[in-house]
């Protein structure tokens, strides 16, 4: 008998994009913000990021090893989780904190639910909130100005620093135009990767060009957020200033560009994405106004994560030939 050929179901050609090429693009998109973080907060920012990424990759590696699953670290998604988690941390946290967070993100939030694509919460975000509630004094009490941050030791296990208030916690007292510009470029205190909206935008535009993400979620998110803060401003300042300062402070921009757009925890269809983004924006305002913490983006996105199944159902496109158009 002659040798048989290999058969496989059609299609017989595939696009070059792979999960790891997509994750590589996301890593590239996060680099400007990381470099900026190191520039304003010093090398401790890099150390923390390295620990976070290392913890995530190692957790996934060990999880696969122990549970005898196929190794999945080469898809680079653990690296992305590590980066995003680190970006959510103040530079003053002890080095063990991102390690704990990374392990939580990967093992509890991602792998126990079946690994990439199967988790219903964004791992980095869930880990951030986990750390936030477990170590509140470390996570929110110690924001420092860039000037102070540069004096911190990059390798010390923990650091002592006098915290300074962030723009977000003072926002209702009004901020001047210079501050708004500083907020856009990222010359302010805050979390490692969140501060420079410019760098985040550069990274996001790269993802748009590479067609890794679509514009729907961030545009819906940010416009609803901006509109609500503009229509219902707080404090004595002008509405437009308040809305701008709100937009540029805290994690709204970072959250909308890089966390709300997480594939696994956002809807599939364009309509679904718009609805999801809009609800994220509204919830963020809600948490900021009525919650007991200044920040709202993390909670808003996490809450919306749990609604993705229903949004997918609700926004299911009408099948071709199944709608009103078909009866013409």
């Amino acid at each position: 008998m002659k040798s048989l050929l290999k058969v496989s179901p059609s299609p017989h050609v595939r696009s070059v994009a792979t999960t790891s090429s997509i994750m590589r693009d996301v890593i590239i998109a996060l680099l400007p913000a990381l470099i900026w973080g190191i520039y304003v907060f010093g090398f401790r920012a890099l150390t923390l990021t390295a620990v976070s990424v290392g913890a995530c990759v190692l957790s996934e590696f060990l999880f696969c090893k122990i549970t005898k699953k196929e190794q999945s670290i080469s898809d680079l998604s653990a690296v992305v989780t590590g980066l995003i988690l680190a970006f959510n941390l103040p530079v003053t946290v002890p080095l063990w904190l991102p390690a704990v967070g990374g392990a939580f993100a990967i093992v509890i939030v991602k792998m126990l639910f079946g690994g990439i694509g199967k988790n219903f919460l964004n791992p980095a975000l869930a880990a951030r909130v986990f750390l936030f509630f477990s170590f509140p004094s470390l996570m929110s009490g110690t924001f420092v100005t860039p000037k102070v941050a540069k004096t911190l030791s990059p390798i010390a296990w923990g650091v002592d620093a006098v915290s300074s208030p962030t723009v977000l916690s003072q926002i209702e007292e009004g901020v001047d135009t210079n501050t708004v510009v500083d907020m856009f470029y990222g010359n302010i205190g805050g979390c490692i990767g969140e501060v420079s909206k410019l760098c985040l935008l550069i990274g996001f535009v790269y993802l748009l060009i590479r067609r890794v993400v679509s514009w729907h979620i961030p545009v819906a998110y940010l416009s609803v957020f901006f509109l609500l803060t503009f229509i219902f401003p707080r404090g004595e300042d002008e509405a437009i200033n308040f809305a701008l300062a709100s937009l540029l402070s805290g994690g709204v921009v970072f959250g909308s560009l890089f966390m709300a757009t997480d594939y696994a925890t956002s809807p599939l269809s364009a309509t679904g994405k718009l609805l999801y983004g809009a609800l994220c924006g509204a919830l963020t305002v809600f948490f900021r106004y009525f919650g007991s913490y200044p920040e709202g983006a993390s909670f808003a996105i996490l809450v919306m994560n749990t609604f993705v199944y229903y949004i997918d159902r609700l926004t299911k496109p009408t099948v071709f030939g199944g709608g009103a158009n078909a009866k013409k």
Binding site: K2, L4, L5, K6, V7, S8, P9, S10, P11, H12, V13, R14, S15, A17, T18, T19, S21, I22, D75, S77, G115, I116, G117, K118, S214, Y263, A264, S266, P267, L268, S269, A270, K273, D312, K316, P317, T318, V319, F320, G321, G322, G323, N325, A326, K327, K328
Partner: protein, 443 residues
């Protein structure tokens, strides 16, 4: 502005053979004529081992059913009648003819010598049936049945020249090489169907054809050219009709239900040949290409020629050769063996290297949803199908899937989405049939 549809994908066209004129290949050593080259009932062979046959001689038919007869594509001796694995994977009876290379044509050909309007549409339909003409774009639906169902129901005749699958240029070459014959074929169809005009729908990557036909078409009110954007799957009849008229064929219905009827240009050419020369479908235009064949080309081969003989003719296969695809890379059928033969519906033979992709996991990126022109949610369909939850697949519209492969092409996780949906469709159809049988039994 070129017209088009929503969704779909842009793929590397790989139309490497577009400039290569089709070469006739008349002397395969043997041909194996499949008794099932169409959708419908298989033919019953009417020759025995040892019989001599001439080109064009009918060697199998099953009149009275949905069936297209098959004919000897070479002259010679029947050396075997055997069961072989057909192009779609099921066993089919094949009549194997050894070519005597004398090219003798059967004397029973019956060309139309009078003018066209001396024939009634019914007579033309019968001639189309006798000539064994099937949809040559790949579906292989009996053309006579299509014409019959369209007479009186279809107002719009569309010649589907999209050829949106990568690699394939067989129709492109045909249109360049035989514009007059195609136009005459279109006129026969216009007369038979009783429609007022025809539209040639063609993708904008075939500018040379568009120019040529602009020159050759004398009556522009009768035959017009509509240019479509080059995008896959532009050639799907639903998407052509949508691009041209903005109409969606309702789920589970046919083009004729929205007043349209579509033909592939090679089918049109076959209709013309069947009437003008009396010669039935015995030759097939194919594109031979792929990264594992030495000399890609366009060929006109006798129906029943084996892949092995074609590969030999094209300089042989390269070392990396691992897969043989009949048809385009998006919807074509992988073959087990080099003994597989060209059928009336075979548009291309692709010799490809091995699969490089490894199946991963769905990361919910949504690319499949964006690509699906049927507006399904392929990621969810695949996930439910994988779990065996076919009810959920049915609710999500799995039966509307046309299996074009866009979702699977774009999937970064390399999930064989279409295959999961095929499994679901099979299960849903089985369940429906069972329910019907039980319902019928009770009555």
């Amino acid at each position: 502005m070129a017209q088009t549809f929503h969704g779909g994908i842009h793929i590397d066209e790989n139309k490497n053979t577009a400039a290569m004129a089709a070469r006739p290949f008349a002397e395969p050593k043997r041909v194996a004529i499949s008794m099932q080259q169409h959708i419908g009932a298989p033919c019953v062979h009417s020759v025995a081992v040892g019989d001599h046959v001439d080109i064009g001689q009918c060697i199998g038919d099953n009149a009275g059913t949905l069936c297209c007869p098959v004919h000897a594509s070479v002259s010679g001796t029947v050396v075997a009648i055997e069961n072989r694995t057909g192009a779609m994977g099921a066993p089919v009876t094949h009549v194997v003819i050894e070519n005597d290379c004398l090219h003798t044509v059967t004397p029973s050909l019956d060309p139309v010598t009078t003018s066209l309007d001396s024939l009634t549409p019914e007579e033309i339909v019968e001639r189309v049936r006798k000539a064994g003409i099937v949809g040559m774009g790949g579906a292989a639906f009996p053309t006579y049945a299509k014409i019959k169902s369209a007479i009186g129901n279809a107002k719009r005749l569309i010649i589907n020249c999209a050829e949106c699958e990568p690699y394939i240029t067989a129709n492109h070459r045909l249109l360049l090489e035989q514009p007059e014959a195609v136009i005459k074929g279109i006129k026969i169809l216009i007369y038979t169907l009783g429609v007022r005009k025809a539209v040639i729908a063609i993708e904008d990557n075939k500018k040379d054809v568009i120019e040529l036909f602009e020159k050759h078409i004398t009556d522009k009110a009768l035959i017009s050219i509509k240019v479509l954007k080059t995008k896959y799957p532009q050639g799907d009849e639903r998407q052509i009709i949508y691009a041209l008229y903005g109409k969606e064929i309702p789920a589970g219905k046919l083009p004729v239900d929205v007043g349209c009827v579509l033909f592939n240009p090679e089918t049109v050419l076959s209709v013309y040949k069947a009437l003008s020369t009396g010669m039935p479908v015995v030759h097939k235009r194919i594109t031979v290409d792929g990264d594992a064949i030495k000399k890609p080309c366009n060929l006109i081969v006798p129906v029943g020629t084996s892949a092995a003989e074609i590969a030999e003719l094209c300089g042989g296969t390269k070392k990396r050769f691992a897969r043989l695809i009949f048809g385009g890379p998006m919807m074509g059928q992988a073959q087990w063996s080099m003994d597989s033969v060209v059928n009336k519906g075979t548009g291309a033979l692709l010799f490809l290297s091995g699969v490089k992709e490894k199946q991963g996991q769905c990361i919910r990126c949504g690319r499949c949803v964006e690509a699906c022109q049927m507006r399904l949610m392929p990621a969810l369909l695949a996930a439910y199908s994988e779990k065996g939850n076919y009810n959920e697949c049915e609710k999500l519209g799995a039966l509307s899937c046309v299996e074009c492969g866009c979702c699977t092409y774009v999937c970064p996780g390399k999930v064989p989405i279409v295959q999961y949906i095929r499994n679901a469709k099979g299960a849903i159809n089985d369940a429906r049939r069972r329910a019907k049988e039980q319902g019928g039994g009770k009555q």
